[in-house]
């Protein structure tokens, strides 16, 4: 197969246009901001339920509220762990890529 140097340089110059980063729409949150918001929500849920459980153990909150807070915490932690596992898995998949 005959690959000409001019053809190669032409294709290479085309890839640059494709790989150029697209300017981000400032109204749309970036992936980093979305992750930050999700982590903030997770932390808020954890803090809220911690306060509820502490109040429940001290006898200031009813047991239903304690169980509800614990269930919310369980779901939040499960979600966080599942997402983290997926992220780590994707990272390992990239590392295993034959170069």
């Amino acid at each position: 197969m005959d690959i000409k140097a001019t053809l190669a340089s032409q294709i290479y110059s085309q890839t640059r246009a494709v790989a150029k980063p697209v300017p981000q729409d400032p109204a749309q949150p970036t992936a980093g901001q979305a992750f930050e918001a999700a982590a903030g929500d997770f932390l808020a849920t954890l803090r809220e339920s911690e306060a509820t459980v502490a109040a429940g153990l001290a006898g200031r909150a009813d047991p239903q509220a304690v169980v509800e807070a614990l269930a919310a915490t369980e779901l939040a932690v499960e979600t966080a762990v599942a997402v983290r596992d997926k992220v780590v898995e994707a990272y390992q998949e990239i590392l295993r890529m034959p170069v």
Binding site: Q64, E68, A71, A72, L75, A82, V83, D85
Partner: protein, 130 residues
């Protein structure tokens, strides 16, 4: 706050309302022999929990039943009136037990819904965990 969380908040409020109801029932039974005691009743009201964006149920103000008190003729009793009648309480044990049983069933129903929502959210997460 997603739908599952709202479901669990509503179920928890239902359980709290039934707990308040059964507390009043046990107070009524405890005072069944108290002279002049009117049984306490409570109404359930729909409420909107703005902090958690959830529709819930709350117990309304506690009200006293306006039934006639049970009157027994006992002139030797120190609490007897001028006509010799003693006023007891208007608590009917049968009504209280039936009310407690109904509160128990409603509590169980709310608990089932709570568990159902939790299991649904949990099994959804199982999908991405594989």
């Amino acid at each position: 706050m997603n739908e599952m969380m709202r479901t669990m908040a509503a179920s928890a409020s239902g359980m709290a309302a039934q707990a308040a109801r059964i507390r009043l029932g046990s107070e009524n039974i405890a005072n069944a022999d108290t002279p002049g005691y009117h049984r306490k009743t409570v109404s359930f009201e729909q409420a909107f929990d703005a902090a958690r964006d959830a529709r819930a149920v709350v117990t309304g103000p506690v009200q006293l039943d306006r039934n006639e008190l049970a009157r027994t003729y006992d002139p030797t009793n120190p609490l007897a009136g001028k006509d010799g009648y003693v006023e007891g309480s208007d608590v009917d044990l049968l009504v209280e037990i039936a009310d407690a049983r109904e509160a128990n069933r409603s509590y169980e129903a709310n608990l089932k819904m709570f568990d159902q929502a939790r299991q649904m959210a949990s099994s959804l997460l199982d999908l991405i965990r594989r």
